[in-house]
């Protein structure tokens, strides 16, 4: 799903309950992360619930990034799915140069997500940016 499409859907959903339901459904549809990738090293710090991220580089010219992730909280899984929808299939350069954190405000999530969780969201954004930068440096 593209960002504009997501925003459109979100705006269409009226109240917070429908938006939450949408987020939870997005999280449910997140492809399962292999058990062996639930490692300490893959853990994203700064989140109130447990979050794991892993990635791989899909060969191509230029190569693109694929992400896998999981959380023990549904709403967080929904946020992960939102982020992945925006960054998956993009090149490290595209991700490193874009402000992926802006989707949070563009979706109007600040009205629905408390500060603690917002910080967790930005920890996830930072992890994605770091992955992209590392891959750039390696290329």
């Amino acid at each position: 799903m593209e960002l504009d499409e997501l925003i459109e859907t979100f705006e269409f959903l009226g109240d917070w309950e429908e938006r939450y339901r949408f987020l939870i459904d997005l999280g449910r549809k997140l492809p399962p992360m292999p058990a062996e990738e639930h490692t300490e090293a893959n853990k994203v710090r700064g989140c109130m619930s447990q979050v794991w991220f892993a990635h791989s580089l899909r060969p191509g010219t230029p190569p693109t990034l694929e992400f896998r992730g999981d959380s023990d909280a549904h709403i967080v899984k929904g946020l992960i799915a939102l982020l992945f929808a925006v960054v998956s299939g993009k090149t490290p350069r595209e991700i490193a140069d874009s402000d992926i954190g802006e989707i949070f405000t563009r979706l109007g999530l600040e009205n629905h997500i408390t500060m603690n969780r917002r910080n967790g969201f930005y920890s996830m954004v930072e992890r994605i940016q770091n992955i992209a930068r590392q891959e750039l440096a390696r290329a």
């Binding site: 939870i24 109130m48 619930s49 549904h74 969780r117």
Partner: protein, 402 residues
């Protein structure tokens, strides 16, 4: 609930008139911190408006007023615990009070391998300070209801036990521990005892001399008082024998480069300009509890817990964590298919404030094999409407995640 005027109690807490997310606020996060009544806000505001000056050692009128209020607060707090004023050491709260005892009382008596006996339901603040002091921490088990297994606790008192420390009321489960029995057994063996009263003082009377514990610690903010203030209640003989731990102003008698001497107790432990407004606010909070009636508050909270427990437990897929027979107004729970943080987020949208997480009791979470719980906790101003709002929101969680 006859004789308890909930509307009047509520009217004294201005924050309860707030709306959150466009909804009526159901504040059920009282074990984290309670709200403050007008009288506490007025006492603290009034102090700064008409009496603020640094206490002790001054010869001007304002300083005398400030000292009078500040030391008056010490008398008030001492009276609450039926202790003498020399037995009240002001701290920043429960955590600092435990650290003081760990550093100044326990550490000097410690040999390698010496132990502090705890329970499996202790707050991190009643675990880590002992470890930092160099003690080995031993914990007695908790049963499936969240009660201390007393016989097992007894068995863990050994020749290396240098101190026993126990939470009076568990912040995660609400369990009220048999502190009288614990103190009796400890004293029979000559082992000093500390009781962590953070969750207790706003709900239970504490008679320090009758209890016979060596140390009792608490925080003002969990008892309708200000944050950043609390106290250590300690037997005077211990305070006399303990070395000071923080150096600076107010704790000294004389200072010379060859060596300094210390002020008398309790000032020996109160370095630096103290939290005058905090002390005054705490005293006002205790006055407030007394005027509302501690027994009446306790009876009200107990009745509300009895009202809430079956209603919360009846929510599909919900499991209560902590079902002790003797229990304070705390409902900790987990729900099938929803992480505690998911629960907290949905409840927040419905105007219900609860806490989610490990509640600084990671070993206890491990014991119950949960990563975290959702916790609703009651106070004097809560009513059946708050519980109804909570239960309705929990049913919404079921609809969303079920």
């Amino acid at each position: 609930m006859s004789g308890y005027d909930l509307a009047r109690v509520r009217a004294e807490f201005p924050i309860l008139r707030e709306t959150v997310r466009g909804k009526r606020l159901a504040y059920l996060d009282n074990a984290a911190t309670t709200q403050k009544p007008e009288s506490v806000l007025r006492a603290m505001d009034g102090y700064y408006r008409s009496s603020n000056a640094n206490v002790h050692r001054a010869v001007h009128e304002l300083a005398e007023r400030a000292t009078g209020l500040y030391e008056g607060a010490r008398d008030r707090i001492a009276r609450w615990f039926k202790a003498s004023r020399e037995e009240i050491v002001f701290t920043r709260g429960t955590t600092e009070a435990i650290n003081l005892v760990a550093r100044s009382f326990l550490a000097p008596r410690l040999q390698p391998g010496d132990e502090v006996l705890l329970t499996g339901m202790e707050h991190h603040s009643n675990i880590v300070p002992w470890q930092l002091a160099g003690a080995k921490t031993v914990a007695a088990p908790v049963n499936d209801a969240g009660e201390l297994v007393f016989e097992e606790w007894l068995k863990r008192i050994g020749p290396r036990t240098r101190l026993i420390s126990v939470v009076h009321v568990s912040n995660s489960l609400g369990t009220v521990n048999p502190v009288e029995d614990i103190v009796r057994e400890a004293r029979a063996r000559g082992i000093p005892v500390l009781v962590d009263g953070a969750q207790a003082i706003a709900h239970l009377p504490v008679d320090f001399p009758a209890l016979g514990a060596d140390f009792y610690v608490c925080s003002a903010h969990k008892a309708y008082g200000p944050t950043g203030f609390g106290c250590l209640v300690a037997k005077r003989e211990h305070l006399e024998a303990m070395p000071p731990w923080h150096g600076g102003g107010d704790m000294i008698r004389t200072v010379a480069f060859e060596g300094s001497t210390w002020n008398e107790v309790p000032y020996k432990f109160e370095a630096g300009t103290p939290d005058m407004a905090g002390a005054i606010g705490f005293a006002a909070a205790l006055d407030w509890i007394e005027s509302a009636g501690l027994q009446a508050i306790a009876a009200h909270e107990h009745a509300l817990l009895e009202y809430a427990t079956p209603r919360v437990a009846a929510v599909p897929g919900l499991r209560l964590v902590g079902t002790a027979r003797n229990k304070g107004g705390i409902l900790s729970f987990v729900m099938q298919g929803a992480h505690p943080h998911d629960i907290g987020s949905i409840l927040d949208q419905e105007g219900v404030a609860i806490r989610t997480g490990h509640h600084c009791t990671m070993p206890l979470m491990e014991r119950f094999a949960v990563p975290a719980t959702a916790r609703a906790s009651l106070a004097a101003y809560n009513g059946e409407d708050d519980v109804d709002q909570l239960v309705a929101a929990l049913h919404k969680v079921v609809r969303l995640f079920g």
